[in-house]
Symmetry: C2
Subunit: 336 residues, 2 copies
């Protein structure tokens, strides 16, 4: 990582400068949006020794963060001008519908900063970044963590500890930018899963967006049983509907931008549930559903992460190699 | 409860003796089946001061319980003869498919004992009890608790603490028998929800059996995404699939005997999910699903249990009144 290397790719050719910032301690970080994820990231980054500040469009939200001792402004241009001056890593931490507005301001005030995001889908963000001409220094990100709460009051510097943080390895990704983003994820206590945008979006449709959809449907089915059913509800209903407590606008902002991938897995699930219904009706049997589900849960419980140690950003084929390792369950736990 | 009262009902007329056992301390309890629920019940009953013993058909299972100091035999006739001699409350704690065999033995060895069960459905058990001629002293029960584990090794005397325990108030229920069953539930740390069998079965289809079905489908959808998807999975997938870790035979034994009610709510849920799919495809919107689901979860979170204090077993119309109170969210927390 200390040497200057050439990273050819199909889309762009970039020269990876020797990595001053990442090898010499902590860069500055500018977090745009200080809700649950962004605010927790600001807390974690400051805790890890970064010079970090934030922006929140709501004066009340910014004030709440300032009262807790964090440097948060409601002036977007001020936050971004400071980021440009400090060569800060900019983190977009707002729901997908608000991303375009921030990107437009970044293109105006801080177009040369390394840029990442913590949005729940990656291809739509990458497309919006491309439209603003900011792709060269963009690296997608997605920490797989959260709670049903939202807003500054719910923030927690430990939110990312032992979490998985997806970091984009799409073609054309700049090695220095990638390293800065991955290092921030590691410094917040997460492990890094390298993944390209489309594969990320298909995966999270399965393990994040479908769980939201099923939780909403289950909650409705339970409540339709009235006080008796809700009064009898125990652990399986409580856990199965937990994420239905998330604010509706936030659930929609998470799921709807990933509609193509979500539609595919929802269709698949309707087929599985329809077959279970047919089997229960015809043969009074849920055998196929239950055996497949149990096997699947066991695969989840026994899935082994393994540490990627031999692929370094900037190496020949590093993006393809990291992508392949991520597909096979590899994670990065440290950077040299 | 101390007086002799006459409890007329459409099906039977019984004279409720003055309740010696429940007013004068703890009765004996014979638990048939010492897996997760039955074994935990044996532990809790002993802890609460009952003279309690158990039966387990597996010599190894019985031996495991004996090693922990509990009085468990693999001789069913011995356990039941002792129950008959002690006028014990018999608790059937095996999955539905094994209930018939136990009832047949009870009819032979202990036909006059008060009888309850902790099986996950109530109408099929009541029907099996009726076929054996044991209805007069039967009271259905269902503690709404459990874990994904099973067997004696998973038993826990605290399993019922702060849980809800459904106790049947079907027509013809004997007040003394009912009181003994409710008192056991309370002594194990639960609150009692009075409910008739059919309404219980429809309610648990919504809040217990459908969660199992959706968890199995979600687990399969996640695992179909391979190591990448399972590696990115976080809280929503973990919680949404938790009960898919339950042994397949047990899930089937829980859900399949309730197929009519489960089919109805599964059909309802397929309609809801199909509408969500259509709305996502046509309008890129999950608004209806998400808003209804969030409202439903909020109803669950804010549902208030209230204490039933003015209805006493044996009172005029006590069964109908308890049923009505249970439908409206009432629970019994103590017996006079």
């Amino acid at each position: 990582m200390a040497a200057t290397v050439v990273c050819p790719s199909r889309n762009v050719e970039v020269v990876c400068e020797s990595v001053q910032v990442t090898s010499a301690g902590k860069a500055s970080v500018c977090v745009l949006g200080t809700g649950l994820i962004g605010g927790s990231l600001l807390r974690a980054a400051v805790g890890a020794g970064y010079d970090a500040w934030g922006f929140n469009r709501s004066p009340a939200g910014a004030e709440a963060a300032r009262r807790d001792g964090f440097d948060v402004t409601e002036e977007l241009s001020a936050a971004l001008t400071r980021a440009a001056d400090a060569d800060a890593l900019i983190v977009i931490a707002v729901p997908m519908p608000a991303v375009g507005h921030l990107l437009s301001a970044i293109a105006t005030y801080a177009p040369r900063c390394v840029l990442t995001d913590v949005v729940s889908v990656k291809a739509p963000v990458a497309e919006a970044v491309r439209k603003e001409g900011l792709s060269a220094r963009y690296v997608g990100g997605h920490p797989m963590t959260g709670t049903a709460e939202s807003g500054w009051a719910a923030t927690d510097s430990g939110l990312f500890r032992d979490a998985v943080w997806a970091v984009g390895v799409d073609e054309g990704t700049h090695a220095e930018a990638w390293t800065r983003v991955a290092r921030l994820a590691l410094d917040c206590g997460s492990v890094v899963v390298p993944v390209v945008a489309d594969e990320h979006d298909r995966a999270v449709a399965r393990i994040s967006h479908l769980p939201h959809v099923l939780a909403e449907a289950l909650a409705s089915a339970g409540a339709a049983g009235g006080a008796l059913a809700l009064g009898l509800a125990a652990g399986s209903f409580r856990d199965g509907t937990r994420v239905a407590a998330t604010a509706p606008d936030l659930v929609r902002a998470i799921c709807e931008p990933n509609s193509a991938a979500l539609l595919a897995v929802l269709e698949e699930t309707l087929t599985v549930l329809g077959a279970a219904r047919d089997s229960l009706r015809a043969d009074n049997s849920l055998a196929d559903l239950v055996e497949a589900g149990h096997d699947a849960r066991e695969r989840y419980e026994t899935a082994q992460r393994w540490e990627i140690t031999d692929i370094h950003p900037g190496d020949h084929n590093w993006l393809a190699n990291l992508r392949d390792a991520g597909q096979r369950g590899g994670v990065i736990t440290r950077l040299n």
